[in-house]
């Protein structure tokens, strides 16, 4: 094993790709998953817009996506990905399946976070003359903020995991590098470096997530 053969430039580029994929996909996942989570919360049992059929339908679809292993989802989604982004390769080609893969997961976390907000707070807000929209955006979401930040943290880490898998179908990033060099070309040292960087990356995400959660916790 020799670390002299490592092209640090390649690793730097791969890290950049991973960051771009995780960052971009995380942003879009939040944009897609948050409304879905709010919808699940509102249509759920004993909630303002209790709608068992809508809830059941949405729940069913999200569960289907969540039951498909991500690597399969990547392949199955390819035609749709090409339709949406024009390519199934590279960062552009991978962000779409990443968002499809993690949004249902994030939506569930959002639903749970919102449900944990004391029902009394919803009741008090309505009693003060708030509309449902005001109650969600001014009372429930701010109350759930620490849990939502924790959900974003967990989702970011899942995304790091998924980006590594997407390397297998040409997505780029550190995972891709690790598989191509470390596994296919038996350059174990590159795999080790990639894995080490991923470990540090995940630790950093978790630590900053924890700090944010602590900062916004008022309970």
């Amino acid at each position: 094993m020799s670390f002299e053969n490592i092209h640090w430039g390649d690793i730097g580029a791969a890290l950049g790709q991973t960051l771009a994929m995780v960052g971009g996909a995380l942003l879009l996942t939040v944009l897609v998953g948050l409304p879905l989570g709010i919808l699940l919360f509102l249509t759920g049992r004993q909630q303002p817009f209790q709608a068992p059929v809508a809830y059941g339908g949405l729940s069913f679809v999200l569960n289907i996506i969540r039951s498909v292993p991500f690597i399969i989802l990547l392949i199955v989604l390819m035609p749709v990905t090409i339709l949406v982004t024009g390519t199934s390769l590279g960062i552009r080609g991978v962000i779409f399946p990443l968002v499809v893969g993690t949004s249902p997961f994030f939506a569930r976390l959002v639903e749970t976070a919102l449900r944990e907000v004391d029902r009394g707070i919803v009741e008090a807000s309505l009693a003060m003359g708030a509309s449902t929209t005001q109650t969600i955006f001014r009372a429930v979401l701010p109350e759930a903020l620490p849990s939502l930040l924790a959900a974003v943290t967990v989702t970011a880490i899942v995304l790091v995991d998924y980006t590594a898998m997407s390397g297998a179908i040409g997505g780029g990033g550190l995972g891709d590098l690790a598989i191509r060099y470390g596994y296919h070309r038996f350059q174990t040292e590159i795999m080790l470096v990639c894995v080490a960087i991923l470990i540090v990356f995940v630790q950093l995400i978790q630590a900053s997530g924890n700090r944010l959660v602590a900062h916004f916790s008022r309970k």
Partner: protein, 353 residues
């Protein structure tokens, strides 16, 4: 101010609807403090939530300020709710907002006030409830009593005509309970806000309310001025609640009373009679001896009362009873026949609702 007519409410259960309230007729006058008391499960929380339509009645009508609001929706419903403040047992404050932020919340919702106006109003409200120094703290930094003061300030923010208090003191210790009840009475006096107060504690009713309704298994079983209901409870549920407040205060069961010699009466001194030395004088005048078997003394709001169960024996028991009645003492005979007497003794009219 508030009128409930023929209200019924049932909730969906596994085996069909479960009735929670049945045939409730109540009316609360403008400016009074109206208590609704009942043990847990009696339906009082549901009842109070019908007034601001957090719960919709299954049957019957709700009127607030003379207007039928039973099926108010949208902006009309929100406007109604702004005119009715609500205080909760567990405070229900927004933990992510400061004290000032919590009080500002209902004002922000209206979208009608600028920042400066909201700040001025919040400052005035916090001063009213005595929390000015705590404006920038978060709810978790406050004691229970302070949290409830924030809850009250918040409920008053939109200058409501009605304040609903749902077990507002049940999570507080006795001393804090007293302070919060004093604050509610002060608000009622200063602002003329009509208060509807839900509680399971007769003590809270005694100290705070003008009138009270007793709720038992979804029905109003007794209703009237607090003095009347507290001193002369008729229904078994009311009696139970009064006894809970005074475990050993002036209750004598019928069997024990029957064993005593002489005439057993319950004397209730209220108003001017509560302060006068009447009993001894009247006993002497009629050559009657008396023994106090049980008693309770205290205040209903500011008004003093005393109630004794007394056995009377001697020459002219009937005369003594007539004399007591003439002096403004309420005399109720406890079981047995009415003793022969030249003075005509009237039984108290039974007041059953």
């Amino acid at each position: 101010m508030i009128r409930l007519e023929g209200i019924s409410k049932s909730f969906a259960g596994k085996d069909g609807p479960v009735p929670a309230l049945d045939g409730i007729d109540l009316s609360v006058a403008r400016g009074e403090i109206f208590g609704i008391i009942g043990s847990s499960g009696a339906g009082k929380s549901t009842l109070v939530r019908l007034i601001n339509l957090l719960e919709r009645p299954t049957g019957g009508e709700v009127f607030v300020a003379g207007e039928r609001v039973t099926d108010a929706k949208g902006e009309r419903l929100r406007e109604l709710r702004r005119s009715i403040g609500m205080v909760f047992q567990h405070f229900n404050l927004l933990s992510a907002r400061t004290v000032a932020g919590n009080v500002a919340y209902p004002l922000e919702l209206t979208g009608r006030y600028g920042k400066a106006e909201i700040a001025a109003r919040v400052a005035a409200l916090l001063a009213r409830v005595g929390l000015s120094e705590h404006a920038h703290k978060y709810p978790r930094q406050l004691s229970g009593g302070q949290k409830q003061r924030v809850g009250i300030a918040r409920a008053l923010a939109c200058e409501p005509q009605v304040l609903l208090c749902d077990e507002a003191t049940s999570a507080l210790d006795p001393q804090t309970t007293g302070a919060v009840l004093d604050l509610l009475r002060q608000i009622n006096r200063d602002l003329g806000v009509t208060i509807v107060l839900i509680t399971h504690e007769m003590d809270v009713i005694r100290r705070t309310c003008d009138r009270v309704a007793v709720l038992d298994r979804g029905r109003v079983v007794e209703e009237g001025p607090v003095t009347e209901v507290f001193l002369h409870p008729r229904h078994a549920a009311t009696l139970r609640l009064v006894r809970e407040a005074e475990p050993d205060g002036g209750w004598l069961d019928a069997a024990a009373a029957a064993d005593l010699g002489g005439r057993t009466v319950r004397l209730t001194f209220t108003g001017p009679a509560a302060h006068k030395p009447i009993l001894g004088r009247i006993a002497r005048e009629n050559a009657v001896d008396y023994g106090i078997l049980a008693g309770r003394v205290g205040h209903i709001r500011e008004a003093p009362y005393a109630q004794f169960i007394v056995s009377l024996a001697g020459r002219d028991v009937a005369g003594a009873i007539a004399g007591l009645r003439a002096s403004g003492v309420d005399v109720e005979l406890q079981g047995g026949d009415i003793p022969a007497s030249p003075a005509r003794i009237e039984e108290r009219p039974r007041h059953v609702v």
